[in-house]
């Protein structure tokens, strides 16, 4: 064993690298991560355009700022509920326009649920998502 390798091994950190595990996870989930990143970029653009802070977005969505902070990293597997809440909170279209008519039903013409923003939020909202 070389002197350099001996030295590195003798001073090896007890905290192991998580990079390989993370990289493999990113590769295995690349397809939906691509969507998550595009959605996050759209949300950030809307926040910029409307001068909405993370704190304000959290208030509008009825969740914690910590949750929003994690969401804006772009690696969250967002539920339909989260996407719907983002659309309403920022008045943007993420999913709605891409949904087509099914048996005469259109997501665009369905009754608005914007009122839920004023409803009490479940205390555990956001906890189920990665």
């Amino acid at each position: 064993m070389s002197k350099a390798t001996e030295f590195l091994e003798a001073h090896e950190s007890p905290t192991h690298s998580h990079w390989r595990e993370d990289a493999q996870w990113r590769r295995d989930n690349a397809h939906w991560l691509k969507y998550a990143r595009q959605i996050t970029l759209r949300v950030l653009q809307a926040m910029d355009d409307q001068s909405v802070t993370q704190q304000e977005l959290a208030r509008r969505m009825g969740c914690s700022q910590q949750y929003i902070s994690n969401l804006l990293k772009g690696s969250t597997n967002m539920t339909l509920e989260t996407l719907s809440r983002l659309e309403s909170a920022l008045h943007i279209d993420i999913l709605a326009s891409s949904l087509t008519y099914v048996d005469g039903y259109s997501a665009l013409s369905s009754p608005s649920r914007s009122s839920y923003l004023n409803e009490p939020e479940p205390p555990q909202y956001g906890e189920k998502e990665r």
Binding site: S2, K3, A4, T5, F7, L8, E9, H11, E12, S13, P14, T15, H16, S17, H18, W19, R20, D22, A23, Q24, R26, R27, A30, R37, T40, L41, L44, Q45, S69, L72, K73, G74, S75
Partner: protein, 182 residues
């Protein structure tokens, strides 16, 4: 200062700086895949992005960084045990064509059709094929000395190199061993 093993076969290591939660290699990719972090970075460096890369939209820059980081990460992830890391890392100084003991090196992303990559991983070459990552950066200027975040990476390279020398990893015997392998 401690060291984290990045590749199991011991060819790639990274510095775990005192007081940091994760080693500098893990931290690099954590940042490069964090859209909110990238947004803040490009917002704070929009002038350089515009001057040197003619990009005025930070969201375009974020998108390109994500694609570049993914390519670079896959390249490292797929390095076979037989492959030589020397093809990934090049001398930090573009004007240096000779080997030096504990040389300062850099790896960069593949770039796009429009411009070269701005992603950099900095490392010390411990010996042929074995590298110790000291940090990395999004480099938007021609030289590292022009901006504080890249200047800090230069300082880290020097700090780690000096630490290795002070701890006897490099000495005249070591130099002889080293050059014998060249």
């Amino acid at each position: 200062m401690e060291f984290a093993r990045i590749l199991n076969d011991g060819r790639l290591w990274a510095v775990q700086y005192d007081g940091e939660d994760e080693n500098c290699f893990d931290s690099l990719f954590t940042h490069w895949f964090d859209i909110n972090w990238l947004k803040e970075f490009f917002k704070n460096n929009l002038g350089d992005l515009t001057s040197f890369f003619k990009i005025t939209d930070i969201y375009q820059a974020i998108n390109e960084t994500l694609v570049e980081a993914e390519k670079l990460e896959c390249l490292i992830l797929d390095i076979s045990p037989d492959a030589n890391l020397d093809v990934l890392f090049k001398h930090l100084e573009n004007s240096r064509f000779t080997e030096m003991s504990l040389g300062k090196e850099k790896a960069r992303g593949a770039g796009t059709s429009r411009h070269p990559s701005w992603l950099r991983i900095y490392a010390i070459k411990m010996e042929p094929g074995i590298y110790l990552v000291t940090g990395g950066a999004i480099k938007l200027t021609a030289t590292m000395a022009e901006r504080s975040h890249t200047l800090a990476e230069l300082a880290r390279l020097e700090q780690v190199r000096n630490y290795l020398i002070d701890n006897g990893v490099y000495d005249f015997d070591g130099l002889n061993d080293y050059t014998d392998h060249e």
